[in-house]
């Protein structure tokens, strides 16, 4: 499963990076006479409601999805790891403040706060990334805080402290590395989550705006033509599901490698 996940992700990255350079169609080019035409040898995924090549748009959409996934997870995991380790290491007032902010943000389920933020900031790719990052760091901070609370009492950390190492060095060299495997698993699964979230916001009209091709926007516009031209929604939908599945396989595989117990080795009832 891990290999399948890695292969899917690798393929998606290559397709997003090289695809638009290789295929002969621009995602914005229109052939209005052929609008809604189904898949053919010339247009593998068919044409959309404005006669644009869906294959070209799916490949361009992959760039948006991967960009959102990587930037959101990069920012969230960095900020979350920093805040979580500071809160866990210092405790006291700092921990109280960070924990209360986390409690408040966690009181908003899933995408709701992102929807609210994009609703007030205005729909755009940048605002989607800002909104998802603002809510995304909490999961990492909570995870890292827990790990740091355990790690700060370990002997090698106490030894580093006794040797006179300063706090940034203790955190960066000794404590944060103990949390990194768990953060890596969460980040891998988080990329899939961010891709889904961006697609959902774009589907609702709150994310990437036309004519920029985003899988969520393509699904939203394709929905009105589902009866006469189902290919408008089938291909972007498959693209989202397969890429998210790839990151989930990869994250699951990493988790199993880190925590073999999760695979369920033990006697039968």
């Amino acid at each position: 499963m891990t290999r399948i996940g890695a292969a899917i992700v690798l393929l998606a990255v290559l397709a997003a990076a090289l695809g638009p350079m290789i295929i002969p169609f621009d995602p914005a080019d229109q052939e209005l006479a052929l609008r809604l035409e189904g898949p053919s040898g010339r247009h593998w995924f068919g044409l959309d409601e404005l006669g644009r090549d869906i294959f070209a748009r799916v490949l361009s959409g992959a760039r948006i999805s991967l960009l959102v996934g990587l930037v959101v997870v990069g920012v969230s995991s960095t900020v979350g790891t920093l805040l979580g380790s500071i809160a866990g290491y210092f405790g006291g007032v700092v921990d109280e403040i960070v924990s209360r902010v986390m409690d408040i943000l966690l009181a908003f389920p899933g995408l709701l706060l992102a929807i609210a933020m994009v609703a007030v900031l205005g729909p755009s790719l940048t605002n989607v990334i800002i909104a998802l990052s603002l809510i995304g760091w909490v999961g990492y901070a909570r995870l890292v805080r827990g790990q740091v609370l355990r790690a700060r009492e370990l002997e090698f950390v106490q030894a580093a402290r006794a040797l006179g190492a300063d706090v940034p060095r203790i955190l960066a060299r000794h404590i944060i590395p103990t949390a990194l495997p768990a953060v890596t698993v969460q980040a891998t699964l988080g990329i899939g989550g961010a891709i889904l979230a961006e697609a959902a916001l774009s589907f609702l009209g709150l994310g990437v705006q036309p004519p920029t091709p985003s899988w969520g926007t393509m699904l939203s516009y394709g929905r009105t033509h589902m009866l006469e031209a189902p290919h408008l929604t089938v291909f972007p939908g498959i693209a989202i599901a397969v890429l998210v599945l790839g990151f989930n396989f990869l994250g699951d595989g990493l988790r199993d490698a880190i925590d073999p117990q999760a695979q369920g080795q033990g006697p039968k009832a």
Binding site: R100, V101, D103, I104, A107, F108, P109, G110, L111, L112, L113, I115, A116, M117, A119, V120, L121, G122, G192, L196, A199, A200, F203, L204, G205, L206, G216, L219, S220, R223, M226, L227, P230, T233, G237, I240, A241, V242, V244, L245, N248, F249, D252, A262, G264, G266, P267, K268, A269
Partner: protein
């Protein structure tokens, strides 16, 4: 139990206050003049001034905040800019539809996930296990805004078995509930499998088997019951995802709930209504998490609320 409940309620107050503060500040995050943004760039200045006065945006921030909290305490969330109706009234009208959909989605999820998770754990490492986990991973990966329209095409348009949208009979509920519950079912199945595997390893299960208890009874009456706590916790946490998913599902199936109201009000820049919907969903989520905590004692009598 009484003391635990009181303490848990007291701990909820700062969270609710934080939620209210964040929702209050939303309107102030609007770039530029919120009143201008709500009415549009072309609106006459007099109208903008009037709206600013009506929303209290011309008063000091602290005073606006105080009035917002005072309004919340008496259930006054302001007035919809578009309809002129009280926000609370509109939300209360839509609440039953959303709760009906969320409850049905949870039921769908439970009905599919528990048997799947148990079967995967009992048949660990077999084709049944691999198939169940692959299906569940696919369920997590398929977005409900894709699954919903696909289900509608197949079961409503092609086969004509179910209505394509709206609310009325139980038949209207089936497609939105399955579409919304699928991802939750997948997550719960994975959690059920993981916790069942842990429980099946416990000595009490071996002891029950040694005493001659049948395998089915050992699995269902002993291991399954004890595996429920993490599963119920996850259900509580995932209820939030169901509420957020309802925003999308209600939009797809024209389900007249709070989610659809939220998206419509965003479209109309009706920010008091947006604030009201967000607040209600968040407060419901906090309440469900509180209930989840209280459920532990019912599921596991060893847990004492001290």
């Amino acid at each position: 139990m009484g003391r635990f409940l009181a303490r848990r309620l007291v701990l909820t107050i700062p969270v609710l206050l934080g939620v209210a503060t964040l929702v209050f500040s939303l309107i102030h995050l609007i770039p530029g003049d919120p009143a201008q943004a709500m009415l549009g760039e072309a609106a006459p200045q007099a109208d903008v001034e009037e709206l600013r006065r009506r929303l209290g945006l011309d008063r000091p921030l602290i005073q606006q905040y105080g009035e917002f909290l005072r309004g919340l305490a008496v259930g006054d969330l302001g007035t919809s800019l578009r309809t002129g109706q009280p926000v609370t009234e509109q939300i209360v009208e839509r609440m039953p539809a959303t709760f009906e959909l969320a409850a049905a989605a949870m039921l769908v999820a439970i009905a599919f996930s528990l048997p799947l998770g148990i079967a995967a754990a009992v048949k660990r490492g077999t084709a049944v296990d691999h198939a169940a986990m692959t299906v569940s991973l696919a369920g997590v990966s398929v977005p409900n805004f894709w699954l919903g329209p696909l289900l509608a095409i197949v079961f409503a348009v092609q086969l004509g078995w179910l209505p394509v949208s709206g609310r009325g009979t139980w038949a209207h509920l089936v497609l939105p509930a399955v579409s919304l519950g699928a991802a939750l079912a997948a997550i719960l199945a994975r959690m059920t499998r993981a916790t069942m595997l842990e429980e099946l390893r416990e000595p009490y299960v071996q002891a029950a088997r040694a005493r001659g208890v049948s395998r089915t009874r050992a699995v269902l009456r002993h291991a399954f019951r004890n595996s429920l706590i993490p599963v119920v916790t996850l259900m509580g946490l995932q209820f939030g995802a169901v509420l957020t998913g309802a925003v999308i599902t209600e939009t797809i199936f024209a389900w007249p709930g709070i989610g659809r109201l939220l998206i419509q009000s965003i479209g109309f820049r009706d920010y008091p209504l947006v604030q009201g919907c967000i607040l209600l969903i968040a407060v419901t989520y906090v309440g469900v998490n509180l209930l989840t905590d209280l459920m532990y004692g019912v599921l596991d009598p060893r847990i004492r609320y001290e």
